[in-house]
Point group: C2
Chain length 469, copies 2
């Protein structure tokens, strides 16, 4: 990259925020899974929408690729520049203002660089609730949550990021600012533009701010860890919990026995909160706008009926806030726990609820066929049909050799998912990791429309190139 161009970018954000020193850039280039090793000559850290706009104007004049990055917690490499090193990395971390909290209207206007946990806290203090909740909430940013249409554990009751967003402010690839911030739930004035950018992983423009929905704050919670014998029983349990609990059912996470065991080991627990061992577990969360007592009473009916009808085998209800948190920590630590067990080939899939038992049975046969002895760590947001179907290497084999099976395994598992008309990327997106899968599984008409949209908004191809498409 020519020095003159670097100087022009510097002028926009100030010398302190246009970084060329590779040691300072290095942390931005490390990603969670260690799969991608991008390079960049320049890191920009703008502090305002106007600066982002100037950056994109200059980028489009000079045909410079720009890679936007939020909290750098993405799992498919969407936030990483590629290895050819010609893209400028644009960190959104300094656009971190909560512009307004409107409590009567139940919305917040939030800049892209706000860390999710900071927003959760601020909203909570104001007596409202923002439901998005992810394992990475302490570092992920709202802009990244939007660009990846983040899901997590609260989708069941509140929807994913797409459904939590009323409007956006976006800097387009040519530097123009689209002000589509909307403060009302209903607005049918023309085509829906915001949903093009949500889930587009920064390939169509840079989200700089958003209007997000707020909700009444639940006053009570009840949590239980449940043991049961099969995914079919878990499905029956879910169905009853939904019909009885309705919107009070705010979490329903499935965990295979190995998932829970790994989490318990990771947390250094000598024994499980449940008395017996089971093939499958469910973490169920009930929220109440009234009180802990109401939440507990609804949970109790669900558990008692399900025990009576032999839908579940055993249940333990958390007896304190601390124990509730502990149950959730078990669930949230599965991914970290899995790292200690060696290499893992991962899937982030969704199938229609009714197909989950069949999918799990058939997928196990595929795994055994491709990698005999590999350990299935299956867990996830069962209420959404979304499973993290991860496969950890057999004990004692060479990690690198096992990971060589990644594409083959992915392709077989994803083919099964598509057979059930599911999704081969339910919540993590496409990024760099699943571009081939997109080409393999998406219909040609859909791919063609996507390419048309990309070309219309980013004719120069400078906006996070070689991601998704």
């Amino acid at each position: 990259m020519e020095q003159e161009l670097i100087e022009s970018f510097k002028k926009i954000v100030g010398a302190a925020h246009a970084i060329t020193d590779q040691a300072s850039i290095a942390p931005y280039l490390i990603e969670e899974r260690g799969l991608f090793h991008g390079k960049t000559p320049l890191l920009l850290r703008p502090s305002s929408t106007a600066e982002v706009s100037s950056i994109m104007r200059l980028a489009s004049q000079t045909c410079t690729p720009i890679v936007p990055q939020g909290g750098n917690t993405g799992l498919v490499g969407g936030q990483q520049p590629d290895e050819n090193g010609c893209g400028v990395l644009l960190s959104m971390e300094r656009l971190n203002k909560i512009r307004c909290l409107n409590l009567e209207g139940n919305f917040a206007v939030v800049e892209a660089g706000v860390i999710l946990q900071n927003l959760q806290k601020k909203v909570n203090e104001s007596g409202r609730f923002f439901p998005l909740s992810l394992a990475s909430e302490g570092s992920c940013q709202i802009g990244g949550n939007l660009s990846s249409n983040a899901g997590g554990t609260a989708v069941l009751a509140y929807g994913n990021m797409r459904e939590l967003c009323l409007g956006l402010e976006v800097v387009l690839p040519d530097g123009r600012i689209l002000d589509d911030l909307r403060f009302v739930k209903k607005d049918n004035s023309g085509y829906d533009l915001k949903n093009l950018f949500i889930g587009a992983e920064g390939t169509l423009g840079i989200i700089t701010a958003a209007v997000l929905k707020l909700f009444p704050k639940p006053k009570g919670k009840a949590v239980s860890l449940v043991g049961l014998c099969s995914p079919a029983k878990a499905l029956e349990f879910l169905s009853f919990a939904q019909c009885h609990g309705g919107a009070m059912l705010t979490g329903f996470e499935l965990m295979g026995k190995l998932s829970l065991q790994m989490a318990l080991d990771y947390k250094m627990c000598e024994r499980s909160p449940l008395e017996h061992k089971h093939e499958w577990y469910v973490l169920i969360n009930i929220s109440s706008l009234q009180s802990d007592e109401e939440a507990l009473s609804v949970l109790s009916v669900i558990l008692e009926e399900s025990l009576k009808n032999a839908v579940i085998e055993e249940a333990v209800v958390a007896q304190s806030l601390k124990q509730q948190d502990f149950f959730w920590q078990l669930r949230e630590s599965i991914s970290s726990a899995q790292k200690l067990a060696g290499g893992s080939i991962k899937h982030d899939i969704a199938v229609p609820l009714a197909s989950i038992p069949d999918f799990i049975a058939e997928a196990a046969r595929i795994v055994e066929d491709i990698a005999p002895g590999a350990r299935v760590v299956c867990f996830g947001h069962m209420g959404d049909g979304n499973l993290h179907y991860n496969i950890t290497q057999p004990i004692g084999v060479d990690t690198a050799a096992f990971l060589q099976l990644w594409s083959q395994m992915n392709h077989r598992i994803h083919s099964l998912v598509m057979h059930y008309q599911g999704a081969f990327s339910a919540e993590h997106g496409i990024g760099q990791l699943k571009r081939e899968e997109l080409r393999a599984f998406k219909s040609p008409v859909a791919l063609d429309m996507m390419q048309g949209i990309k070309k219309m908004l980013d004719p120069l191809g400078i906006m996070n190139p070689r991601k998704i498409l």
Copy 2:
């Protein structure tokens, strides 16, 4: 239109369903408000997605404009051909199959021509619930509901049509079929295509089928008609009802005193269900997954607290299913009642909740300024900030002369709405009626993006031309 072309269209759908007889076509050209008087040489009634695809292929080869029509209940002329008479009208009424009801997965696959009420009934019989509810539900069709992103009374708890839809099947203007039917809630595999077509009023393609979300069926309901003194009090009442009732609050409709009086007159009721007269009324609906008793108990707390705190002045709880229906009929009959009172200039607006009281006060001054003596009939879905701010002619003046004020009135009221960062078309869309308003109030960047999308998908401009843009 040349006879040869008509014959070619006939071959696709069969002679019985390619209609040129103007007397048979006439009912399709009459619309609710009597504002639009379109013409067409040909009405086509295809029965399958494949036939729609063939029609569009022929239309694009011959550059023939196609105007898709659902139940013909739209209020902005989006479903009507224009007066130049060169567009073919395409009725979706024969694509009326419910392809599947999946109860475990809580979704239905429904063709575009299915009448909303038929779907509601079928789903209800199966033990589930489809929440979309509109005054026109007996004749409007799912395809139209999607194309207009229909709202109605249940948006408060369940969202609008956009949020009720998981995926679409669409015939593109060139005849290709986009199969974006999805059976899972989470799918982050590439750009969101379905939301482009939802709310696009048939200008980007023809929706032929959709996957719709189903919900657990509420087992209980409680309904009350409430009198209160001002919109500010109604806002306070809403806020309390939301925090206490949460997802159980499934209806919150505001009605000005004139709205209720007109509805009572229309229903030939000698007296109101309430003992006293009030300036404003709210119809509040509480649903329960458990029982009528639970719904009533939640409603009672909301009413008692609000009476105690002087938020509301009086409340009457419906004592039977019949009375519940009657309260809702009052609300639903306001539009019909208004017709009997002469000409009306209508607005379908949304403003942020906190701005509703100020909006109502200021809008009244605008009305009095433009049309002294005109009667404000203000009612709507207050929980969504969405009001039908309608203005009925002063008693005794000439209707046509009053209706001459339509544009002027619209423009002043909509300017006020935009001052509050609201929506000048909250749920009815743009169609033919609000094209000028769109040009006046939408940002140039948004308009430019919309034009780009239109051009990309419909380069010949044959898909429902001169609607929206």
